[in-house]
Amino acid sequence: MLLSALLALATFASTRSSLLQQRESAALTQVFSNARIVRDRLPSETDPIKLLQSLQTPSSSHPIALDDRGRWHAPDPLFGQNALPEALRDAVSNDTPSRMRYALRGEPYLAVGVPLPNEGAAYFEVLELDELEDTLRQLSLSLTGAAMLTTMAGAGLGWWASRRALRPLADVGQAAEAIAGGRLDTRLAAGNDADLSVLVTSFNGMAQALQDRIERDARFASDVSHELRSPLMTLSAATELLETRRDELPQRAQAALDLLSAEVARFQQLVEDLLEISRFDAGAVRLELDDVRLAEFVLQAVAASSAPGVPVEVDAELAGVVVRADKRRLGRVIANLLDNAGRYGGGATRVALRRVDDGGVLIAVEDAGPGVPVSDRHYIFERFARGGVSGRRGAGEGVGLGLALVAEHVRLHGGRVWVENRAEGDGARFLVELPVAVS
């Protein structure tokens, strides 16, 4: 764009100056030859006007003569001595031939003055530059027009070309975003452009490889966990058998058996948790909704948990309320939160079920433990995040998936879970908000 503008400008400028110069030199040549004629004929001329009129002057040029007696002669009264710029007349009266571009009555003119010292006379011509200016103006207009057109055409072409070139990039960008967002089966359409087909092919190839890899990884965690289940079952059966004969064992063996039982149980829980989480990763999870009498459900869930004695408070308005929820998952949420309270919070002190103003319900599990520092409140819901308190690596230790599973189950229901510190004294309050339609 800039280039064409500059080009037009340069063309115009150089054309203008060269045209003007040409005009001038042509004019000057003419003027001087006319001056010679006047010099030769004026002294003996009885009719100077006629003489002037007989001169070779183009229609746009007006001759003026000053004779030796100081009388001005001009065929065109409009172009007489007053049409000449004073500076020019002065210069000529000092015997200096001059030329001058000036404006007369708003129009551009070129005045040339040739002194004729031997005769005591002078010859002038006033040339209209109108025509030239017109031509120049037209030229400049056409150049401007051309420049604008080429600029616009260039811009239009450029825009169209870049859009065409960029659209596939935009498509690629969108496809990449979709894949990053989890839609691993996103692919680019083939399209007609041969140049782009290379891009499309390699992108699709990459996406497929990525999808395969991710699915393989997800399957791996799941496969490993599956494989571990059978031997664990055998271990568990064997330890159970020993448990039924615990009394027959000497004391040290009993201690060893207790350790064995606890660790096998922990190992089994880990494998089950891993499998559950790998199912979330593989996207192979579905809510199995049931009609759930919420209040009764929470009471039962607490009763079946590791902390059955914890008091449960239910909002009066939620007493007979039925919601659509996945019983198994919600059951795990409450169980895990209670386990967590037991492990890190010194035991849950209260479970509350409240109605939320804008619809939905809130389940709270509170404890009287050390609470959760603000900096840890996101971290604890991550996988394998364990209580950061030092020395907590005892036998009762979890593996760090409990809260991560809570988060996944809650998220699947469209809800959210977070932790606060209790205002009234020490301890943490875990809150689960579920946007269930309360009927």
């Binding site: 059978s230 059966a237 199912r279």
Partner: protein
């Protein structure tokens, strides 16, 4: 308590699980017969019927569903199917094939023993003091374990019979799934409602003249099931 000499047939192709199961069940005092394939299981049962059959759904050769259906054609023996947790369709399919209950792998052997005990309890004749109950063309004789529809005897599994008796115990009363799970299967609140749903379906196919429009075993939306005359 359970009778000594109770025979359990365990149909399982995974040797490790077979070992675990045998160890746990024999510890309870029961006799365990093993079969690694469906064919072997049907063969064994044909020669000497067991008191309870445990079937893993995933078997080489004929699958567990087929074994279940084949057994049901000739017997009301209590059947527990074992499914892999991942596929929940297996549970419903197993129940529809005729199973009384299910377990998902991995299961604690303790759990298996508990289920089998519950099944054996159901298999025993119910309280003889319970009088005969009539609901239109439906006759229920609890002490004999017999049900008649329009005079002809209907063959129900022990679980189906127990379910019917529960519903009949308070005719017209609506029983929730949870209550039925508790009374019939011995599960607490977190039992699987599908056990009830599939058994109701099976019951209807046997005692309703038009199972799609049941007159006796009726669904009460959002509340549960009831029996009416």
């Amino acid at each position: 308590m359970v009778a000594v000499g109770t025979r359990i047939l365990a149909v399982e192709d995974d040797e490790r699980i077979r070992i675990a199961v045998k160890m746990a069940l024999e510890d309870e005092g029961w006799t365990v017969e093993e079969a690694a394939t469906g064919e072997a299981a049907l063969d064994s049962f044909g020669r000497h019927p067991a008191d309870v059959v445990l079937i893993d759904i995933m078997l080489p050769g004929i699958d567990g569903f087929e074994v279940c259906r084949s057994l049901r054609r000739v017997s009301d023996v209590p059947i527990v199917v074992v499914t892999a947790r991942a596929d929940t369709h297996d549970v419903v399919a197993g129940l529809e094939a005729g199973a009384d209950d299910y377990l998902t792998k991995p299961f604690a052997p303790k759990e298996l023993s508990a289920r089998i005990r519950a099944l054996l309890r159901r298999a025993r004749a119910p309280d003889p003091a319970t009088p005969q109950l009539n609901f239109g063309d439906l006759e229920i004789i609890p002490e004999a374990g017999v049900v008649r529809l329009d005079g002809s005897e209907v063959h129900l599994t022990k679980t189906e019979f127990r379910l019917l008796c529960e519903l009949a115990s308070s005719a017209g009363r609506v029983f929730s799934r949870e209550v039925l799970l508790e009374r019939v299967w011995g599960y607490g609140y977190f039992g699987d409602g599908r056990l009830v749903d599939v058994h109701i379906r099976r019951l209807r196919t046997k005692i309703e003249t038009d199972p799609a429009n049941p007159r006796h075993v009726v669904t009460v939306r959002g509340l549960g099931y009831k029996l009416q005359g």
